[in-house]
């Protein structure tokens, strides 16, 4: 099902992210359930859809499309993430046709992390097109033509999502790009991780008039070390001191409980400003249901 149908009905849309395994998924029956499917199982019934990352952080692994299809077979609604880093305009369009043919309904169009951040640092980065152009091209495929204007035998029918980073300075430049994404075809947005409701408010004051649904992006800080690591190494994210301190104030065993508490506090403040939540639990998918039940 397309997430846009849910937004249109006024649903508060919940998604959670999984990263495909580094390996193949040849047999879906027998053998151990792969990590990404296990994580999806943990949030079953508590989220509307599962985002499937595309070689996240430029680390080579199972493709997002294959993992999305496998999750769909298990009864989940995947949001197929697609980046511009590894494929040119021919491959991207072809994969969008492939995604729709294989039953995918939702695509999240991103620029992608740079190659040098990952585990194949010497790879040639593609970036033939950017995320705004990808959205426009995907919209064209929905309307029955490729980017060169050639007719398709059958149009795609994909809900098109995009991302925005509310932490970005200068914010107006980020929002300028957000508007371009909307004009190009973005129908919903998921945000980068935000830990300060004031930052969110600053953005939503300006984005309300855009009239597109926004899901609050949540990266669960699992330890004080992770908070510090994110501040030093993950561009465009700021984990405030109070979170690092609170996570450090409890024993290791109690960290999940603390993370639930902190996340709930943030969600309660930010919820009135958004149309949904997007969890990026990074292995802690088991706390998503706890958070959702408590909301």
């Amino acid at each position: 099902m397309k997430l846009t149908e849910l937004f249109d009905k006024g649903e508060f849309v919940i998604t959670s992210e999984v990263g495909p395994v580094k390996g193949c998924l040849r047999s879906k029956d027998g053998g151990a359930v792969p990590q990404c499917a296990q994580e999806a199982e943990m949030v079953r019934g508590h989220v509307h859809a599962i985002n499937v990352t595309d070689n996240q952080s430029a680390v080579m692994r199972l493709g997002s499309l294959a993992a999305s299809v496998r999750l769909k077979e298990r009864g989940f609604e995947p949001v197929y993430q697609m980046t511009c880093r590894d494929r040119n305009r021919i491959a991207l369009q072809s994969d969008l046709l492939g995604a729709c043919s294989l039953g995918i309904d939702n695509v999240l169009c991103l620029t992608g992390d740079y190659t040098s951040l990952g585990d194949h640092k010497s790879a040639k980065s593609v970036f033939d097109i950017d995320s705004v152009q990808l959205l426009k091209i995907a919209k064209g495929l929905n309307e029955g033509r490729d980017m060169m204007g050639n007719a398709l035998t059958q149009s795609t029918n994909l809900a098109l999502g995009a991302v925005v980073n509310p932490n970005f300075e200068p914010l107006d430049l980020q929002l300028l790009k957000m508007e371009k994404k909307i004009e190009a075809g973005a129908e919903f947005f998921q945000t980068q991780a935000v830990y300060d409701p004031a930052v969110f408010e600053r953005m939503t004051k300006k984005t309300e008039k855009f009239g597109v649904p926004i899901q609050y992006g949540i990266v669960i800080v699992k330890s004080p070390q992770m908070g510090k690591f994110m501040n030093e190494n993950v561009s465009g994210v700021n984990v405030p001191d109070w979170i690092i301190k609170e996570m450090g104030s409890v024993s290791k065993e109690d960290r999940k409980k603390k993370a639930v508490e902190i996340t709930l506090k943030l969600i309660r403040e930010i919820k009135p400003m958004v149309q949904g939540l997007h969890f990026m639990p990074l292995g802690w998918s088991d706390i998503v249901p706890i958070i959702m039940k408590a909301l």
Partner: protein
């Protein structure tokens, strides 16, 4: 200019293995500015080769080794010595090496031409003798008029045309925290020019066929063919 860096001497030594009589050709154009292949670096290379028991038959630095005529003019008077060389080492960009090979072929000489430098692209000198940076990738369709004279194709790590990715932090690029985010530079420049609204326009995907290699420039007609 074309930026170059020296190859490790071991690599050059390896390339020249088995050739005793060697000619060294530098370049007093870009390689001189990069301090990798000008007359000074050619002299230093000659010394090193001699220490490594090579017989240097001649050494010189044409004004611009990537111009066929200038390289030929420098080599014409040295024909006899050139004929005795078993290999030619060029301290110039990849273009200089290939022009030298071309000139030798035009003379009817089949002498191996070896490269002593690594070429690192079209580079602009900011501080003479200190710093040069890459600012243009010769995309064949310049968009500097739309971007405040700052090139996103080259200066943005991802060559984004419609605004920044989400990764810039404190004005720096997510790929290299020492480097300014090109899109923040463009934005600030467009604001200063009072033209930031122009950035709202959708920029279509680039026509990369204009960069299809190898390009040929018809200089007479001033066009790429």
């Amino acid at each position: 200019m074309i930026g170059t860096t020296p190859k490790p001497f071991e690599e050059i030594s390896h390339a020249l293995k088995g050739y005793e009589k060697v000619a060294v050709i530098g370049c007093d154009g870009c390689a001189k500015v990069c301090m990798t292949g000008g007359s000074d670096q050619v002299s230093q290379m000659v010394e090193k080769l001699k220490e490594n028991s090579k017989n240097v038959v001649f050494a010189l630095s044409p004004e611009r080794t990537c111009y066929v005529d200038k390289t030929k003019a420098a080599l014409d008077p040295l024909m006899d010595k050139l004929k005795s060389a078993q290999a030619v080492l060029v301290l110039g960009c990849g273009g200089a090496v290939q022009i030298t090979r071309q000139v030798l072929e035009n003379y009817g000489l089949t002498i191996p031409v070896k490269v002593g430098l690594d070429s690192v692209g079209h580079i602009d000198t900011l501080i003479m003798g200190e710093l040069a940076i890459e600012q243009c990738q010769e995309c064949g369709e310049c968009i500097l008029n739309e971007t405040g004279g700052i090139c996103p194709v080259t200066k943005c790590a991802k060559s984004l045309l419609n605004g920044p990715c989400g990764g810039a932090q404190n004005g720096k690029c997510e790929v290299d925290s020492e480097r300014d985010c090109a899109w923040i530079l463009i934005y600030n420049r467009m604001i200063a020019l009072g033209e930031s609204d122009k950035l709202r326009r959708f920029m279509a995907p680039k026509d990369y066929s204009k960069m299809a290699k190898p390009r040929r420039l018809n200089i007479k007609e001033r066009r790429v063919e």
